[in-house]
Amino acid sequence: MEAWIVFARGPLFRLCFSIMVLGLARVLWLTGIGIIEAYGRSDDRALAYREIFRQTLGWALPVGRAGRARPLYSLTSVLFHLGLLLVPLLLQAHVRLWQSVIGIAWPVLPAAAADGLTLLMLVTAVGLFAGRLADRRSRAISRLQDYVWPLLLAVPFVSGFACANLTLAPLTYQAGMLLHLLSADAVMFLLPFTKITHCVLQPLSQLVTAVAWKFVPEAGDRVAATLGFADRPSWAERSRLGGPHS
């Protein structure tokens, strides 16, 4: 088991961590290029930057629009993210590991705070998961990864918590650590290929939407031509003629 642990936190960790960092950089780059290209194609150069910024911030915080729409959900979500981000980044054991490898350390959470945040994260995760199952609208737009991610994310947190509080755990330290490492590696590996890319794309989310509405001039007619409907009246003409909009 020791050899597996060494592997999971050596080569396997390096593989998954690199995939995560480079993969996130890649989606950010692809999205950025896409935005620039879409903007460049359109004639209409007006973008309401202030409004876009306000909306981006608004959807990220449990105040304003997001808070008014689903206050409990937004608050739970923020608390969940708090634990999700702070614990892995600021856990003393993690910082020590980084320090031993790259020689840089940063402030750490006290052990009790880390345990508390982990529990908070797990409780809020259960809440979000239950909310998704209970709400019909949420169920309707959910995909497989929406159900698998909360379960997968819970594994490194539960096993990490178990390793930090061995008296409460039903497994040995080594088994817990291996589980912790393998699940964390899996999370890092999958992360850039799933919806979790929102961790870097969130700041661009509203900008993407705004730019996406900027079409190439006569785009609709070209789509119609590609689909073989070139002879039919175009969208613009139809609205002018007052016909049905089906």
Partner: protein
């Protein structure tokens, strides 16, 4: 997927792998990412990336000279690709050199600090100037696409002839001065390769290579883009190539004969075989192949002959650049996979840049068809994801960037642990000092050691009572444990504790709480000290106080710290100035393999007891 797409797919993967290795090399250093050492400072990167890279780019000055000086207009079609190849080749040389230089950020020093007696100075300046010339020669091609650059383009075209002449001058100067580098090491290069004529040999072979490289590049890109090959034009290059190769052979063997070295050609060493292989591939086979008319006129024949020649010259440069150097002791230098990865990555990046240029700019008469040109083209689904990735340009960057990321991640995963841990020094296990009355301290068994009069020290310090002065820490139930037991690596600190030994079910089977009792995070600083359990670990009256008992410093550092500390002290107290000098202890070099006990006994007049199992 088209041929070009498939090729780019592979190239991006190679570039990704090289990016991981290259980043690590820049962060951690050469030691952890290559097999280069003080004994082998020049290896694959110099031989292949720099020396072969410069030679491969020779097509640029030869074709520009043919067309613009000698007015051989039939070669006009290959001027632009040849100049582009040369430009990218030189760029690759510079990038490759950055990985090889110990302090790459000092590369600008040669511009300011002139060492006019150094051949490297000339090489460096020529590369720099010729790269500039090539950039100016090629610039008009991309400038055609941008009306804002029209004025600069016109000026450059007006200055084309002087640029071409400068290019020829600089190229000939430093193709040969790459050979001059090795005139400084006549006893280092194997005599079958060393020659006072090396500069001339380098220049002549570079000219032949330049012609062949144009042929290889043209046929290769014709295959990739399914273009009509320029076989007829290229046939015109085969005749001069053949004659130059013949001249090269005459020069090479004439030089060997003139210096009476022909006798070396019959030995059975691997260098002799390598010589014959190299000469056959580089000149012999291409000459024979290109002498046959049918081969010379056929596409496959041209490609095979020129390809062999190119491979041969690259091999020649790698040989001269480091492979056949003698005097490296027993250790044979074999490049690490990381070195191959960086070299391949530099080449792959150059090829990608070439493909980019030919697709975007008018390098050829007719550019390869642009897949984006047809707006009514039906979408194609990605074979792996079975999704539509967007228009071809978007689909390409989606796929290539993914390949790059995955390859880079694999590269990071495969890197040796020492590199990944940020330690540039390869682990070097320390061995037991051997002997009895006189200890031969040579932890890494390289013959450079210290004959340490152990018994004399013991008596001087006060007999058996004085052991703890040096043996400051002992293994459990041991007395006077050897230094190498804890200081187990020559250079790096090692774990003197062994967490697994204590915690594993097959070892001590201790629970965490035995050593980490408090609620504090479990770390070395909060754990119980070793002596809590191992009462006999530190002998009474230990001279050295151990601050952190979990990690032992490197062997060399431990030896030096202990010996120098005491010697400095005694030197001052007893007024013995020599005691502090390196040579007071490091007096000789000795191999245990030769006659270990004899050497020690004769020189020091003491008996040495060899431990069991030491080979003589």
């Amino acid at each position: 997927m088209s041929r070009a797409r498939r090729l780019k797919f592979v190239l991006w993967a190679i570039v990704g792998l090289a990016a991981a290795v290259g980043t690590t090399r820049m962060l951690v250093g050469l030691g952890a990412t290559s097999h280069l050492s003080d004994a082998t400072p020049w290896g694959l990167w110099i031989g292949f990336d720099v020396m072969a890279g410069v030679a491969l780019a020779a097509g640029g000055f030869i074709i520009t000279a043919s067309v613009y000086i000698f007015k051989l207009e039939r070669f006009h079609d290959v001027v632009r690709p040849a100049v582009l190849t040369a430009f990218l080749g030189y760029l690759a040389v510079v990038v490759g050199l950055l990985f090889d230089l110990g302090l790459p950020w000092n590369i600008w020093h040669m511009i300011v600090f002139w060492n006019t007696r150094s051949p490297l100075f000339e090489v460096g300046w020529c590369v720099m100037l010729y790269l500039t010339v090539l950039a100016l020669e090629f610039f008009p091609v991309p400038a055609e696409q941008f009306s804002a650059l029209a004025k600069i383009r016109r000026v450059l075209l007006k200055w084309r002839l002087p640029l071409v002449i400068a290019g020829i001058g600089l190229s000939t100067l430093h193709q040969s001065s790459l050979g001059s580098l090795f005139l400084a090491m006549p006893y280092h290069v194997h005599p079958l390769w060393y020659s006072p004529w090396l500069p001339v040999l380098f220049l002549v072979s570079a000219i032949a290579l330049g012609l062949q490289m144009v042929i290889v590049e043209s046929h290769f890109t014709a295959y990739v883009y399914r273009r009509k090959p320029e076989t007829g034009v290229l046939e015109g290059l085969t005749t001069p190539a053949r004659w130059i190769l013949l001249a090269y052979l005459a020069l090479r063997f004439g030089d060997l004969a003139a210096r009476g070295n022909l006798r070396l050609l019959t030995g059975g060493e691997w260098q002799v075989k390598m010589f014959w292989f190299e000469v056959a591939v580089m000149a012999g086979l291409p000459i024979v192949l290109l002498s046959i008319g049918r081969v010379r006129r056929s596409r496959a024949g041209q490609f095979a002959a020129a390809g062999l020649g190119v491979f041969g010259v690259v091999l020649n440069r790698v040989d001269v650049g480091g492979l056949v150097h003698t005097g490296r002791g027993e250790a044979l230098y074999v490049p690490a996979w990381t070195e191959f990865a960086v070299s391949a990555g530099v080449v792959a990046a150059a090829v990608l840049a070439f493909l980019f240029a030919v697709e975007r700019f008018a390098v050829w008469h007719d550019r390869p068809a642009d897949p984006d040109a047809d707006p009514l083209k039906l979408p194609e689904f990605d074979k792996v994801g079975t999704t539509w990735l967007g228009v071809p340009a978007v689909a390409d960057r989606t796929v290539y960037s993914l390949v790059f990321v995955v390859a880079a991640a694999v590269g990071f995963a495969l890197l040796p642990a020492s590199a990944a841990a940020g330690r540039g020094v390869e682990p070097g296990p320390a061995h037991r000092a051997r002997g009895g009355e006189i200890l031969w301290i040579d932890g890494n068994l390289d013959g450079n050691g210290v004959a340490f009069p152990h018994d004399a020290h013991e008596q001087r310090e006060g007999g058996k009572e004085s052991c703890p002065r040096c043996h400051h820490m002992n293994l459990p139930r041991d007395r006077a444990s050897g230094c190498f037991e804890c200081h187990r690596d020559m250079w790096q600190p090692t774990d003197a504790f062994g967490h697994e030994r204590h915690a594993s079910p097959t070892g001590g089977r201790l629970s965490c709480a035995t050593c980490h009792p408090s609620a504090e995070p479990r770390s070395a600083s909060t754990a119980k000290t070793c002596v809590t359990c191992h009462k006999d670990l530190i002998p009474a009256g230990a001279f050295i106080k151990v601050n952190n008992g979990y990690r032992a410093s490197g062997y060399v550092r431990a030896m030096h710290a202990l010996c120098i500390d005491c010697h400095t002290h005694v030197m001052a107290a007893r007024k013995k100035p020599n005691l502090g000098r390196c040579t007071n202890c490091h007096r000789e070099r000795r191999s245990f393999v030769d006659a270990p006990d004899l050497a020690v006994r004769e020189r020091i007049g003491a008996s040495v007891v060899l431990p069991q199992g030491v080979a003589r």
